[in-house]
Structures are given as structure tokens and as C-alpha cells.
């Protein structure tokens, strides 16, 4: 008699559970690239769409908070997901992350989010705060292994000293980068004494590498930072939404260091110029004051001279008048001075220039 193995009979729910266990074991997380279709958001919480290629299509599900970038039908994406058989026997992907794939999709997603945030006023000029001119305490968010970070530190140290720099080491590319950067932003913003400036830097890379800096929650976290922000991502030509929302945008990490602190060589030059000009200024002021004193003395002497001249002239004029009044001058001109009573029979005294004579008045005629 041949013993037959008992046939395994599953309950429907058990079978679905076993399929899910098998899938979970074989494919805990899969990455799939495809095109989005039938994208919709239900009740503002749940996102449904299909991911497809030319031959096949799979339904996808995710929560709306997991959606970091704008997605729309026709966009090429890469999803990171867990495959699952639902209790209704429908195969679907539970999405962990979704990101645009290829430059076209990245650009499209970037443009949609940029327009949305711009409409909300996140990039408005009047939101921008000034950075302190000489920060004492700086927070830096970057990967300490990145070349961009090394450039930043080198330029910072070359330019200025005495700054306390707290660095948060984070991933600056890949799916986990935005959340790590957001945690670092929150960490610094929650300090009892907050830093003067928050610097977020990353060197150059491909559009996909830099796409972490176009993540909507990250852009909003930068906008919400109570610490003024300075963002330098990629090269000069790269433009990220993180750059645009920052209080100050640096073209590169090196440029961020240049914006952050002054150049000590310039400061030394300026100090030397300022103090070097003081002594000549003092001498110039002394010269000027000496000139003023000289001018005053000269003026006083001149005034005195003038006064003396005036007095001399005055004296000469008086002397001339006195001379005119001198009786001798009259006598010199041949006239005589008569003293006494001019009545007939009286004796009068007649004085000329050289003699005095006495004479008797004989006759008096009225003219």
C-alpha cells in the first residue's frame, strides 16, 4: 500500500499570509523603475498609482507623507517598495520611497515643486534674513567625508579664526539624506543657545545626487529654521530648491566659507591703513593749528601796526594844526602882536618876530 503525503490545504488568509512571508523573505525591499499612471490621492492621506512599462503594470500604495516630491502621470520614477498580496488577493507594492528617474522627470518634479513653493512665498526676498557679519558660533550640516566639506573647512581656516564650528555629519545624497539633514536642522534649532548661522553644504554631483536638496520637507525645514541659513550645494551652475529657500545662497561650499567670514588678510590690511593714517593726520592737524596761530599773530601785529600808523597820522595832523595856531608863525610872516588898551593916549606893547616895542596910540579909526 502506497502512503500518500497528506495534501496541504490552506485557509485563504493563511495562504495570503504565507505568500506574504515568502515575498518578505525573498524580496524584503525591491527597487523598480517605471512610469507612473493613474496617480491619485484619496482623502488627502492615501496615494494610489500604477507603475508600468510597455508590457506590464503593478498597483502601488503609499501614505501621502511619504511623498517627498511632486509626482504625476507619465513621470519616470524609481520606487523602493515591499511587494505584498492584499487580503483581497490583489498584488501591490507598498512604497517606501519614490523618486523621479532621469533628468527629464527630475526637472519636471523640480519645476512643479518650485512653482508650488514660490506661490506660497517661500522664496520671497522679504523672507530673507541677513547673516551676522562676524559669526562666533556656526553650525554646519554636511558629510564630513565629502570634498565640499574639506573645501569649506580649508577656506574657513584660511580666512578667519576663533569661530566655534559644530558639524553635523549626515548623508548628503540618497534616499535617507533629506531626513538626516532635517534631523540635523532640528537638532541645532532646538539647542538652548542656538548658533549664529546654519550652513548646509555639499559639493558637486549629478542631478540625481543633488536631488536630495529638492526634497519638499527639507526645503520647508530650511524655511522654518529660526537660525539664519546659508546653503551652498553643488557647483555654481547648479540650482536647488534648498539654495532658493535659504536666507543666503552660496555658489559652492568654498563660496559659503567666503560669505560666512571675512578674510583676515583684508582685515589686517584695513587695520594697518587706518592706524597708519593717524600719525600723519595728527601732524597735519598740528601744522594746521600752527598755521592758525601764526596767522593770528601776524594779524595782531598787522592790526597793531595799523593802529600805531593811525595814531602817528593823527598826531601829525594835530601837530600841523598846532603849528598853524602858533603865534610865532604869524610873527614870522611879518605880522605884529599888540597888547594893551587901543585908545588914543594909551601905551600899547607891539611884538614882532624880533622885537617888542612900546608905543602910544595917537588915533583910532573904526574900519
Amino acid at each position: 500500500m502506497v502512503e500518500t503525503q497528506p495534501r496541504l490545504i490552506f485557509g485563504v488568509s493563511d495562504f495570503i499570509a504565507i505568500v506574504n512571508q515568502t515575498l518578505d523573505y525573498a524580496y524584503p525591499v525591491v527597487e523598480i523603475e517605471g512610469e507612473v499612471s493613474s496617480f491619485k490621492v484619496n482623502q488627502g492621506k492615501y496615494v494610489f498609482f500604477d507603475i508600468k512599462d510597455s508590457q506590464s503594470s503593478i498597483g502601488c500604495f503609499m501614505s501621502v507623507w511619504q511623498l517627498r516630491l511632486p509626482i504625476e502621470d507619465g513621470m519616470k520614477v524609481i520606487v523602493s517598495a515591499t511587494p505584498k498580496l492584499t487580503q483581497w488577493g490583489k498584488f501591490s507594492l507598498t512604497i517606501k520611497t519614490i523618486r523621479p528617474s532621469g533628468e527629464g522627470a527630475l526637472k519636471k518634479s523640480f519645476d512643479i515643486l518650485k512653482a508650488k513653493l514660490d506661490q506660497e512665498g517661500l522664496f520671497a526676498i522679504d523672507r530673507k534674513r541677513q547673516l551676522p557679519s562676524s559669526p562666533q558660533h556656526v553650525a554646519v550640516i554636511s558629510s564630513t567625508e565629502a570634498a565640499g566639506y574639506a573645501d569649506f573647512v580649508k577656506i574657513l581656516n584660511d580666512r578667519w579664526g576663533g569661530v566655534r564650528v559644530d558639524v553635523a555629519h549626515v548623508q548628503v545624497q540618497g534616499a535617507s539624506a533629506p531626513d538626516q539633514i532635517i534631523r540635523a536642522i532640528n537638532y541645532f534649532n532646538q539647542q538652548q543657545v542656538i548658533p549664529d548661522v546654519l550652513v548646509i553644504i555639499r559639493g558637486g554631483g549629478s542631478a540625481d545626487d543633488l536631488s536630495a536638496f529638492n526634497d519638499e520637507p527639507l526645503v520647508r525645514a530650511i524655511a522654518a529654521s529660526r537660525i539664519p541659513t546659508l546653503v551652498g550645494v553643488g557647483h555654481e551652475t547648479d540650482e536647488s530648491l534648498a539654495d532658493m529657500v535659504a536666507d543666503v545662497r552660496a555658489a559652492t561650499p568654498s563660496n559659503a566659507a567666503q560669505i560666512l567670514v571675512s578674510d583676515k588678510n583684508d582685515a589686517i590690511k584695513s587695520i594697518r591703513t587706518k592706524t597708519g593714517s593717524l600719525l600723519p593726520r595728527i601732524l597735519q592737524i598740528i601744522d594746521r593749528q600752527q598755521q592758525i596761530v601764526t596767522d593770528l599773530v601776524y594779524g595782531a601785529v598787522k592790526q597793531m601796526d595799523r593802529a600805531v600808523d593811525d595814531q602817528v597820522k593823527n598826531l601829525l595832523s594835530i601837530r600841523s594844526i598846532l603849528t598853524q595856531l602858533d603865534p610865532n608863525m604869524v610873527l614870522r610872516r611879518g605880522y605884529a602882536l599888540i597888547r594893551g588898551d587901543t585908545k588914543p593916549g594909551e601905551v600899547i606893547e607891539v611884538e614882532t618876530l624880533k622885537i617888542i616895542l612900546k608905543a602910544e596910540v595917537k588915533n583910532v579909526t573904526i574900519k
Binding site: Q136, R183, K264
Partner: protein
């Protein structure tokens, strides 16, 4: 505040004020030389400090790869 406990920025501000005094209404020639010597000493101190001061760069211990 003693001279050494001031930050570079505070010292630069003090130097700027000293230099501005020479152009201000309070300027008196009798004090000019003293002020000049003060400015010279402060400038030398700032320059020395600028050339010797290092930044204090520390990587924070906090990890950011997951929620804490």
C-alpha cells in the same frame, strides 16, 4: 572687560571708535598722541590675534541616521 577677554570683533569695533575719534567733534590735540598710541597697541594686538587664532571645529556626537 579686560583686553584679552574681548573678541576680535569687539576689539575691531573699539579700534574703529578710536580712529573715528580723530574725525569727531571731541577731538583735542592734547589727547591725540595718547589715543594714537592706544590705537597702535590695539591694532598690533588684533593683528597678532588674527594670525594666531584657530577655529574650534567639532563634529557633534549626535547621530542623524535615525530618529532619536
Amino acid at each position: 572687560m579686560s583686553q584679552s577677554s574681548k573678541t576680535i570683533q569687539e576689539k575691531i569695533t573699539e579700534l574703529n571708535q578710536l580712529v573715528a575719534w580723530f574725525d569727531g567733534d571731541d577731538f583735542v590735540i592734547e589727547q591725540a598722541l595718547d589715543r594714537y598710541k592706544q590705537a597702535e597697541a590695539l591694532a598690533a594686538d588684533i593683528e597678532k590675534e588674527l594670525l594666531s587664532l584657530k577655529n574650534d571645529i567639532q563634529v557633534v556626537k549626535q547621530k542623524f541616521d535615525r530618529d532619536n
